[in-house]
């Protein structure tokens, strides 16, 4: 059975850029699933059903990738043959490492009970602003085809995403989930 290799942006009729309209993405995704989902082929032959499962899975994978800004960034880099799995020392600047350590320390030093919740909210807001700046920078660098710099920025965003997830889970612990 042939592999599907359709470009994710073309699939959803979007121009190939980091900034995209999420509601158009969602709407086009739903329209495509209406045509491709295996439920549309409940009465069809096994071959058609299997093909529908493949198509529908591919749409889900593509949607999942473009929906997340981090995965979208990695995908855009991969379209320009930049492999984000290969990380070199030079991809991670000294300034990034220092900032990482500082932010992590700030998180670790917070009290372990619900009194830390306002501070966690503040930290989250601060980090979210940082991320928004990085995303703008990434979009610009990609447009200018400065792939090395874009890749470095990607790894910074990756770190921020990890940190946000940790803030979330510390929040959940303190809320008693």
């Amino acid at each position: 059975m042939q592999q599907i290799k359709q470009n994710y942006f073309q699939l959803f009729k979007l121009s190939e850029s980091f900034e995209l309209d999420v509601s158009t993405l969602a709407e086009n995704y739903r329209q495509l699933q209406l045509a491709a989902h295996p439920d549309r082929f409940a009465a069809a032959s096994e071959t058609e059903k299997m093909r529908a499962v493949q198509h529908s899975s591919y749409l889900n994978e593509a949607y999942d990738t473009l929906k997340s800004t981090l995965r979208r960034a990695a995908y855009l880099l991969s379209l320009h043959d930049v492999d984000v799995e290969q990380v070199k020392q030079s991809d991670l600047g000294m300034d990034l490492l220092l900032e990482q350590i500082q932010l992590r320390e700030a998180l670790d030093e917070l009290p372990k009970d619900s009194s830390a919740l306002p501070a966690l909210e503040n930290l989250k807001a601060e980090v979210t602003v940082k991320l928004a700046n990085m995303e703008r920078f990434f979009a610009d660098e990609l447009q200018r085809r400065e792939f090395d710099s874009a890749k470095k920025c990607f790894h910074e965003m990756q770190f921020i995403h990890k940190l946000l997830a940790e803030i979330d889970s510390s929040e959940e612990q303190r809320l008693g989930y």
Partner: protein, 608 residues
């Protein structure tokens, strides 16, 4: 033509079957006009099993032959069941080396798949009477937290009962469908499902007919039974009962507690007498006693909202499912948390079955004019075992299905030709804390130096939430042979054997039923192919067309005077010779949906 498709809620305590009849989807009654079928089966020597209320009444006098709550046994091993409930009155067949919880009854050894199939048969016989004809497809609901084994066995039970499963549908999703289609809403829906022993929350968005499950969550150890326990603890304390209770006294007390709980859903205050003690339980005190339990349900709602990155004001509707949601403490807490009253106009005991009936009607093609689609998620993460008995997640929970994820592995020894993989399901870090799904052996890896072989393993979860695995060695392009060893329950061979034996002996009408089904399916296949050729004959070469015509002719003659096996194998052959044609058509369908190009053309344009 209206085709006969039904929705089935195969419940732990009661089951229901629904179908669209004229005005809308309704629960179908038995000959006495009763809709709920107690999920109880009594086996008798040399007689057909008794299912329903009569069987439930027999449970007291004939406990070892009367199976209650078989749903709790599905997809589990004997040892798991015994550790979860050591006081079951059944005699398990210890000689079964597959670990399946087969029960020795006077009618022979029965396993949970067979017992569930017996319930399904009774429901379907009822539907075939009501709808005056054979069923063409069923949608069966399963709890959202059901794992792969439990889903697979539900499907196996249906095939054993001779039913064609259009889809397994998650219960909360079914409930949302029942309301969503009713109200034609756009927006976000929370389904709050509090059953006897489990609790589920699902958050769905509905946009122009497309239901998308955004997040699910739950607590498999929280249900209406816990509220009974709280009341019975209070009774013990209030009546200053000292010492331990006997088993039967304890049951009696729980029964009384359950009655009090039900009464409190109707009135503000209940007078209670227990032994010589009399007292009173009012709504205020009940709210206080159950505060911790209610808070747990609200916390789960909070968690699900967080997973979906939404706040309560983004929720347009709340749907209640399960008898326990009749309690005012629950309704009030839900209304307070979400800032709006939950929808209650569909009976919480029937809402799941009604949603299943609607989905069955859509899938069989009775409502083709509707743009209606369900995009569900896998509620549990799928992972594989790595070094140190840790779990590496391959497909995280809340991923929209169907989904395929590929992972590359390599060999760690020179000349290694076999590799084992262990697939698990669950959220925990350690393999021993997750549910073992299957062990795979990849054989036929070409011998190379360690680390040179590249094996791509693809995990595919279909729309029913069921997993399949394929593997390929990339450097030489060899397809590895995969051996699937389910970690518990039945393997594929055992199912096949059961299907065969049931065709051969157990039920005299089985072969004729299988034959009718094979004829029906083959006719549908031929019809589908004919209409496909009418539209897309240009995609078919002359040689292919003549090969297809040849198999169609042979299949048609088998339909009129062949066995079900002959029809099956010819249908299979027809599927094969028309496979390429079907693939081209599918590519065109999705291609047209994209932008009027076939996938091949698009691939070309991106290659440039």
């Amino acid at each position: 033509m209206h085709r006969r498709a039904v929705g089935i809620d195969l419940g732990t305590t009661n089951s229901l079957i629904t179908a669209s009849c004229g005005s809308g989807v309704e629960a179908l009654p038995d000959a006495d006009g009763l809709q709920l079928l107690p999920s109880v089966v009594q086996y008798r020597k040399n007689q057909t099993p008794v299912v329903g209320a009569i069987a439930r009444a027999a449970a007291i006098d004939d406990p070892e032959n009367t199976i209650l709550s078989v749903k709790r046994l599905l997809g589990k091993s004997r040892s798991e069941i015994l550790s979860q409930d050591p006081f079951l009155p059944y005699q398990f067949d210890d000689s079964r080396d597959d670990g399946a919880p087969a029960i020795v009854t006077t009618a022979g050894v029965m396993d949970p798949v067979q017992i569930s199939a017996d319930i399904l048969r009774v429901l379907c016989d009822r539907a075939e009477v009501c709808l005056a004809g054979e069923l063409e497809g069923v949608v069966i609901t399963v709890p959202a937290y059901f794992d792969d084994a439990q889903r697979q066995q539900t499907k196996d039970a249906a095939s054993l009962a001779g039913l064609r499963v259009l889809r397994l549908l998650n219960e909360p999703t079914a409930a949302a469908v029942a309301y969503g289609l009713d109200t034609k809403d756009q927006g976000n829906i929370v389904v709050f499902d509090l059953g006897g022993g489990t609790f589920d929350v699902s958050l769905l968005s509905l946009q122009r007919g497309v239901f998308e499950v955004l997040a699910t969550g739950g607590d498999t150890h929280l249900g209406g039974d816990d509220f009974d326990r709280v009341v019975s603890d209070w009774l013990m304390q209030a009546s200053v009962h000292t010492g331990t209770l006997s088993h039967s006294k304890r049951i009696e007390l729980l029964y009384l507690a359950n009655q009090i709980k039900h009464q409190l859903s109707e009135t503000e205050s209940v007078d209670v007498s227990y032994g010589a003690w009399t007292g009173k339980l009012d709504a205020e005190l009940f709210t206080e006693l159950t505060r911790e339990l209610v808070n747990r349900t609200i916390n789960t709602c909070r968690r699900v909202l967080r997973d979906a990155k939404l706040t309560t004001d983004a929720i347009d509707n709340i749907v209640l499912v399960g008898g326990a949601t009749r309690m005012p403490v629950i309704r009030n807490a839900v209304a307070e948390f979400f800032g709006k009253s939950p929808l209650v106009n569909i009976d919480p005991d029937k809402v799941v079955a009604i949603g299943a009936g609607i989905q069955a009607d859509v899938l069989i093609g009775n409502k083709s004019e509707h743009n209606f689609l369900l995009l569900d998620v896998n509620p549990l993460s799928l992972g594989i075992e790595t070094m140190g008995e840790l779990v590496e997640k391959i497909i995280p929970r809340n991923t929209t299905i169907p989904v395929a994820k590929a992972q590359e592995f390599t060999t760690f020894k020179d000349g290694q030709t076999v590799m084992s993989l262990h697939v698990v399901q669950g959220e925990r870090e350690l393999v021993s804390d997750c549910r073992s799904l299957a062990r795979f052996e990849l054989r036929g890896i070409p011998p190379m130096v360690a680390g040179a072989a590249k094996i791509r393993v693809t995990f595919q979860v279909d729309a029913d939430g069921l997993l399949s695995v394929t593997a390929q060695e990339l450097s030489t392009n060899t397809k590895s042979e995969i051996q699937i060893k389910p970690s518990y329950g039945l393997n594929a061979d055992a199912i096949e054997k059961m299907l065969e034996s049931s065709r051969d002996h157990a039920h005299a009408d089985m072969e004729s039923r299988a034959l009718r089904e094979a004829q029906l399916e083959a006719t549908q296949l031929i019809d589908a192919l004919a209409s496909a050729r009418k539209v897309d004959s240009r995609l078919l070469s002359a040689e292919e067309a003549s090969r297809i015509a040849d198999v169609v002719a042979r299949l048609q003659s088998a339909i009129s005077d062949g066995s079900s096996n002959q029809i099956h194998s010819l249908s299979e052959e027809l599927n094969q010779v028309s496979g390429d044609f079907a693939a081209r058509r599918m590519d065109l369908t999705i291609g047209e949906a994209l932008r009027g190009h076939s996938i091949d053309e698009i691939e070309h344009s991106t290659d440039e």
